[in-house]
Amino acid sequence: MKQLMTGNEAAAEAAIVAGCRYYYGYPITPQNELINYMSMRMPQIGGSFIQAESEIAAINMVYGSAAAGARAMTSSSSPGISLKQEGISYLAGSELPCVIVNIQRGGPGLGDISASQADYFQAVKGGGHGDYHTIVLAPSSVQEMADLVYDAFDLADKYRNPVMILGDAQIGQLMEPMEFHKRPKKNLPQKTWSLTGAEGRKRNIVKSFYPVKGQLEEFNAHLQRKYKAIEEHEVRYETVNTHKADIVLVAYGTSARVCADVVRKSRQLEFKVGLIRPITLWPFPKEIIRKISEKVQCILTVEMSAGQMVEDVRLAVEGKCPVHFYGRTGGGVPTSTQVIKKIVEVVPDNLANTLLQLAEVR
């Protein structure tokens, strides 16, 4: 049955459906509906809810629950996610599965509470110290928020790796009809590596500390093999109208919804606009972007940042076509009119006039 939910609430309920029974959080706008929902639901289903004394405490509680083999989650917004970075590095270093939700707001610093995508670098390039990756999933609707949070727990367990949901204030606050397609998880896979008390078996060790020379390099090689497998098997993206497109937009999350509207408007014209929407930001869908870049006049990346994902787009394109950028910062959300103006600016002059009609389409 469809229900009207905010993205924040959908993320919380999806985690419960996925079998998460341990949630630790600390309040911050614009993700408060998530922690609020968990405080209501966890006691109802015999789970644990703790409003921790800080974001740092919350991520380390996640470490504890994950080490004990449970499905655990925390959530926050940009400044709070910065505080969690040490914990995330330790989780990655200890190969502990967990889900971290970042409902991004404007930055840097305390910033504001409006929607932003300026934490892309932090999410996909490490954030904490060391050679590690978190799997990063970027929903662009309330329904997809629920679906991706559900899948995030499976991905985390499959690879023993933290998974980050990279949303933004708009996705978190937005209410849309959605439904939970999947059944509640009852029998979760046994985690033979977890710390459950060693009576009658060999002891397990969960750690990220390798002081003996050579051991850490060996462990890092293992991590890199794992990341390679994730890059091979877990890339997700959506393409809209990319076949025979003249220009292709690359955008994720809230920006992608705006770009999808531009694609819709362009359908009436001879000049074709397509869209590649990365759903996994790491692993990044570089193959499809490279493939499409060989056939189009240019690519325009649209973000709510000063230009972060565009660097990965350029790496994927390897100079095969020009890559342009349009971004809003500090809580600004692009409008389709602004994106169209940018398209007009970057396409050859003979096409610009045709494109100006785009702005007239409602």
Binding site: P30, I113, A169, M175, E176, P177, T254, V333
Partner: protein
């Protein structure tokens, strides 16, 4: 279902008022009714710094087609409950759009090009015995004008939300909805400029 939304029509509504005037609930009731009616809906509330007495604004889009950005650039309908919200958001209404004003709290001068309906919602609600139902008076008026859903569908939603705990408030909410409906039905020609 008693829907009057033709195909390929999108209704973009901006709701604004003081925090505490129930704009959030007003929009949610329309959004839920639209969802049950099988429409696509996005409802984007303001959040965070809004407090009782400040202005709060909500973007509600209902459509038969996929909705892309939930942020409204140009509204088909503007429902406003107080003067500061009116000043702040009147520019967002498209030419010839529907302007629904709570004239108990908005001075009726210098209106933009719009189909204007004046509803003294706060006064009506006060006379019914609870100023808090002024939002439902406005909702009744809106339903009578746009006829998107049957009032019964809205009443069902309201009953579901109030449940047993606040069930005693259902009667006054129903009265408020009916007062809004009847007020519009008694006006034959809106004040159009």
């Amino acid at each position: 279902m008693n829907s009057c939304l033709p195909t390929d029509i999108t209704e973009r509504i901006i709701l604004a008022g003081f925090g505490g005037q129930g704009m959030m609930l007003l929009g949610k009731l329309i959004a839920q009714a639209a969802m049950i009616d099988g429409k696509k809906v996005t409802y984007f509330p303001s959040y965070g710094t809004e407090v009782r007495g400040g202005t709060a604004v909500y973007h509600l889009i209902i459509s038969n087609n996929e909705i892309f950005s939930p942020i409204i650039e140009e509204a088909d309908t503007l429902i406003v409950m107080n003067q500061p919200s009116y000043q702040k958001f009147k520019g967002m209404l498209k030419a010839g759009g529907l302007l629904l004003l709570n004239t108990s709290m908005i001075k009726s001068d210098n209106f933009p090009d719009a189909k204007i309906y004046e509803v003294p919602a706060t006064e009506i609600a006060s006379k019914l015995g609870n100023v808090l139902v002024s939002n439902i008076v406005m909702l009744g008026a809106y339903l009578a004008i746009k006829k998107l859903f049957s009032p019964n569908l809205i009443l069902e939603q309201l009953q579901g939300m109030l449940k047993a705990k606040k069930g005693n408030l259902f009667a006054i909410n129903k009265q408020a909805l009916e007062r809004g409906l009847h007020l519009i039905e008694s006006i034959h020609h809106p004040y159009v400029r």
